[in-house]
Amino acid sequence: MAGMLDGKVAIVTGGGSGIGRAACLLFAKEGASVVVADINEPAAKSVADEIGAKAIAVRVDVTDRASTDAMAQAAITAFGKLDVAFNNAGLAGRTERFTRTGDFSEEESDRVIMVNQQGVWNCMRSELQAMMAGGGGAIVNTSSLAGIRGYAGMAPYAASKHAVIGLTKTAALEYAAKNIRVNAVLPGGVDTPMNATMPDGWMDVVARTQPMKRVGKPEEIAEAACWLLSDRASFVNAQALNVDGGWSEVLSGN
């Protein structure tokens, strides 16, 4: 059976760990050539090495437009084009102490907004150009359940993840006629290095409160991104897809 991404060239940001790493491995298995992009270059290299000849590692700082341009160019240089991109690099930005919206310093909030929001925008700026040149493509951006809900103590994260959905839906409208689809995935509680930065016990309790009584695996988010990027999702556009085991439905406020 043919792979879902046969013959496609993919970029994955945050590809060195967590959901990004799982996506790189899956996309390659599904037939794509993969640009493993991460600010942590050794981590990117390790994932690219694991995949082999159909992957390259690129160091990217998503807050820097020149760096995201270089990333898109690297795809074209190495594999001749860019078809799909999974803009997944992000950070939680939780402070050591509980911090309310009015108490976040600009420095603390700017860093999260720059990576999670402006980073996705920079990636799209660079990728959309390359995809238009190639006649089309597909993009998936990583938002979060905090992209549709407030998250007490995590104002920059929630703000940036809401923004990712705004950017996703707007770009989707603007580029639909150019044969580029743009969607977002909203992971729930997932066992990733980022979530390991949450307070002790967070993961255990999230698992207990899930409808499925477990947290997600990075591979399960990667599967959703893979489908959205593939031609099998050819009429799916401007969507924010929860991949959370149903958690959003049982969180109070529904």
Binding site: R94, F98, R100, L145, A146, R149, G150, Y151, A152, G153, M154, M198, P199, D200, G201, W202, D204, V205, V206, R208, T209, L251, S252, G253
Partner: protein, 292 residues
Amino acid sequence: MSSPENIAMHKMLRERGIPTGNDLPEMRKFFDSMYADYVVPASVKREKVNANGVDAEWFRVGNPTACIIFSHGGGYVLGSTISHQALIGEIADAAGVDTLGLNYRLAPEHAFPAGVEDLVNAYRFVLDSGVPADRIALAGDSAGGGLTLSGLLSIKAQGLPSPRCAYVISPWTDLTTTLPTMASQADLDPICTLESLQQLAGLYSGDLKDPIASPLHGDWSGQPPLYIQVGEYEILLDDSRELAKKAKAAGVDVTLEVSPMGVHVYPQFSQIHPEGADAIVKAGAFLRKHLG
């Protein structure tokens, strides 16, 4: 979503557990030590007092013109003004009102209605000291919240003037333990279990449906404003929701606050999660509004 601090706190509570067994002195000692890490506000001055025969303790903040009478939780069997010192102190501080913490008599040595009698006797003590009824609030958590509500019913039944208002946290209002959240929230509640509640109810009262012992079954007409705080993740959630429904239907001014992913008596953990700190601030505002 609730704060990561609240979510993470559940695990700590689950691992700590609650006092169980038959060694009452040991269980009471453990219960008194459970909240020892939490600090009583520096503004609070404590003073032991015999309140009309009831062992009690003042948590004074320099405003004796009004009074909050606080009944602690602990399933009618455990607890004291030691176990609840930080919570009582924080409420006194937030409300800006001298607060009388009761060491009401505990079951099984003193079963229902001993605790209710003690609360009403302490209420008479405060009235006799010159604080009028409309400057008194009753407050309590868990079983102490149930006791507070029992006290309101008992005060009215005895023809005494009702206090100005009542503030209850996760009150235990139905000793029959048959409401739906006993099952639906069982996996989510890191503190209370149906078995422990049933054991405690049996020690406290021979008649679980007595309308004073189980104030959910009482007549709520003519009662003063109620402020109820309860956690979403507790098996006692319906004890609050049903009480609020019933009191509202009887014409009582009821404010019910359900804290998302909140645990049993979540304001007691105000010093380790922001939702708890917010709850104390809101309780202070409610009490100031009525007593201020």
